[in-house]
């Protein structure tokens, strides 16, 4: 089972968002491997341990995004690919999907895994676009994933429960947080990662030209929203009565 896991280097979700020139500022100083991607990496590693094969990680991002790839390698992935190109600044999810598809096609694979959505852009459409471009079926929102050499079986989250979905390979699956318990890189893993293959590619290497990287959406304005004003703070011993008053006012009592 050869698994490809798509990963992203994102601004630390615990740090405040900074906007610069109508974009999320990504100076790399406070960026991390997207916490949502750790579940995808772990899912790939578990499948490799059960079925053999390799786990490759693929990422698109600025040069410093190599840190996310290294983190995945130290968790146990076998090889990494990072696509960086100045022409990709401001790329949307469709362009990202085209770039990742071109990189993934360079080697044989059985399964592509991604997170449900990134923690910074959270569009959640890149994996579906990627599956379409690669001509793969997709099963998104996996809260459990098992596989044989030829098929996957997924418990797919729905609004009010879940569906069991079966799908032949090759396929693409997106995993939710909680699908597994991601491992921490061991010291041995961190040392071993330094010797693992790590490819750096540009758009030219992938044969992607201007038209495929053209962004057809543009931010024309960013404006602050009238913030809700914070109201009264009350002491803990008055809280029950004050909240009950508010509930009574809303006719909930």
């Amino acid at each position: 089972m050869n698994v490809v896991v798509c990963i992203k280097h994102v601004p630390d979700p615990n740090a405040p968002v900074e906007i610069q020139d109508n974009r999320i500022k990504r100076d790399g100083a406070q960026s991390v491997l997207d916490p949502g991607d750790m579940y995808g990496i772990e899912a790939g590693l578990l499948l490799k341990e059960a079925l053999g094969g390799e786990v490759a990680v693929v990422s698109m991002g600025p040069a410093q995004a190599v840190e996310a790839v290294k983190r995945a390698l130290s968790m146990g992935a076998d090889r990494g690919v990072l696509i960086s190109d100045d022409a990709l600044t401001g790329a949307d999810s469709l362009i990202t999907a085209r770039v990742l598809a071109a990189a993934i096609r360079r080697a044989d694979f059985d399964l592509v895994i991604a997170g449900v959505e990134s923690t910074d852009g959270y569009t959640g459409t890149m994996p579906s676009s990627l599956a379409e471009i690669l001509g793969l079926p997709q099963v998104t929102f996996a809260k459990s994933l098992t596989a044989s050499a030829s098929a996957v079986r997924v418990d797919r989250q729905t609004a009010d429960g879940y569906h069991v979905v079966e799908c032949p390979l090759p396929a693409l699956v997106t995993v939710t947080a909680g699908v597994n318990e991601p491992r921490y890189p061991s010291f041995k893993g961190i040392m071993a990662a330094k010797k693992k293959p790590l490819e750096h590619l540009t758009l030219g290497d992938l044969g992607i030209t201007g038209a495929d990287a053209e962004v057809k959406q543009e931010i024309v304005a960013i404006s602050p929203v009238d913030e809700r004003k914070s109201g009264a703070m009350v002491a803990e011993d008055e809280a029950a009565a004050r909240i009950a008053d508010l509930l009574a006012e809303a006719k909930a009592i």
């Binding site: 999907a97 959640g124 079926p137 997709q138 929102f141 947080a177 024309v220 929203v225």
Partner: protein, 321 residues
């Protein structure tokens, strides 16, 4: 005349996803003709509702293939319809299946796709809220068609009493698109009001300390009128409650009359799903928690303890003659 299409998820009983009705309502005030696309069992029955909310045409198919297989058959059908009729703008609700189909259709047509929209200000202009709703971003879209995924509860749905022309879509879906098959369905039977529709929502977060304290939310909800219980992503990920409880960016959007946040710090992820509540009450140990910035009534304290006291208080008031 420009055409705006809404992809509407339908249930086998002929029900229509609420967000699709919100989108139809909003689309009526845009320039252009409004049509809906409904695929899968129940689509024919749903056409009446879709017309009632403003679709002048409904492209539909009741074929089981759209319910049995994930994303690919619907993408293929939409692709053929879009190629034939060239709509200008395609609107999808930010739901599980719709988001999958929108992503595939974008790749298949090359159409630009805008996610998480909270308003449409024109046929090529959308708004989205970022940074927990503190910033509004205006985005211009180019090319045709343009695809937009809109967050639930961005608009109120209002019927207008129209009747749609029904156009049956006959798509032969090839085997290559019959891959990811739904073999079992496990949906929880909802008791009480739906989380998205409840007048009062009580939501719990990590600050409740332990899963057992979540029962306090259920106890309080049982005492109140039209009240449902929700949760943050953190406690859903921790396995305290099922995903159906989750409120936020991933999860449900709620706009109740009163929202009680118990032990919730107020991460951006969560705020976007509940900021539209009329009144927000927050109880949290950390006085610096962002949730207090949006709260009408804030309590710095132990969430479980305050809930226990509130339950007694409500019981007392209900007992009064």
């Amino acid at each position: 005349m420009p055409e705006v299409w809404i992809y509407a998820e339908v249930t086998p009983a002929g029900g229509v996803d609420g967000t699709a009705l919100e989108l139809l309502t909003r689309a009526r005030s845009l320039e252009g003709d409004v049509a809906a696309v409904a695929l899968g069992p129940g689509a024919s029955q749903a056409a009446t509702t879709l017309g009632d909310y403003g679709a002048s045409k409904v492209y539909l198919s009741d074929d089981d293939v759209f319910g049995d297989f994930v994303a690919q058959p619907a993408t293929e059908a939409l692709y053929r319809l879009v190629t034939e009729h060239s709509p200008d703008l395609l609107l999808f609700a930010t739901n599980y299946d719709s988001r999958d189909i929108a992503g595939r259709l974008s790749a298949k047509t090359g159409a630009t796709l805008m996610s998480n929209a909270t308003d449409l200000t024109g046929l090529d202009r959308v708004q989205t809220a970022v940074s927990g709703g503190s910033l509004m971003v205006d985005v211009a879209l180019r090319g045709s068609p343009r695809i937009v995924l809109v967050r639930p509860k961005s608009f109120a749905a209002e019927a207008m009493g129209g009747v749609a022309e029904v156009i049956h879509v006959d798509v032969e879906v090839p085997d290559e698109f019959r891959q990811a098959r739904r073999v079992e369905r496990h949906e929880q039977d909802a008791t009480g009001p739906k989380l998205e529709d409840a007048g009062v929502v009580i939501a719990g977060g990590r600050g409740l300390q332990e899963p057992d304290n979540f029962k306090l939310l259920d106890q309080l909800a049982a005492l109140l009128e039209d009240c449902a219980v929700g949760a943050t992503r953190a406690v859903v990920d921790a396995g305290w409650v099922p995903y159906a409880y989750q409120i936020g960016q991933t999860g449900k959007t709620v706009k109740p009359g009163v929202y009680i946040a118990a032990g919730i710090s107020g991460a951006t992820q969560h705020l976007v799903g509940m900021k539209g509540a009329k009144r927000i009450v927050a109880v949290n140990k950390d006085a610096d928690a962002p949730i207090f910035e949006v709260a009408d009534l804030g309590v710095v304290g132990d969430a479980a303890k305050v809930l226990e006291e509130l339950i007694e208080e409500v019981k007392g008031r209900k007992g009064r003659p």
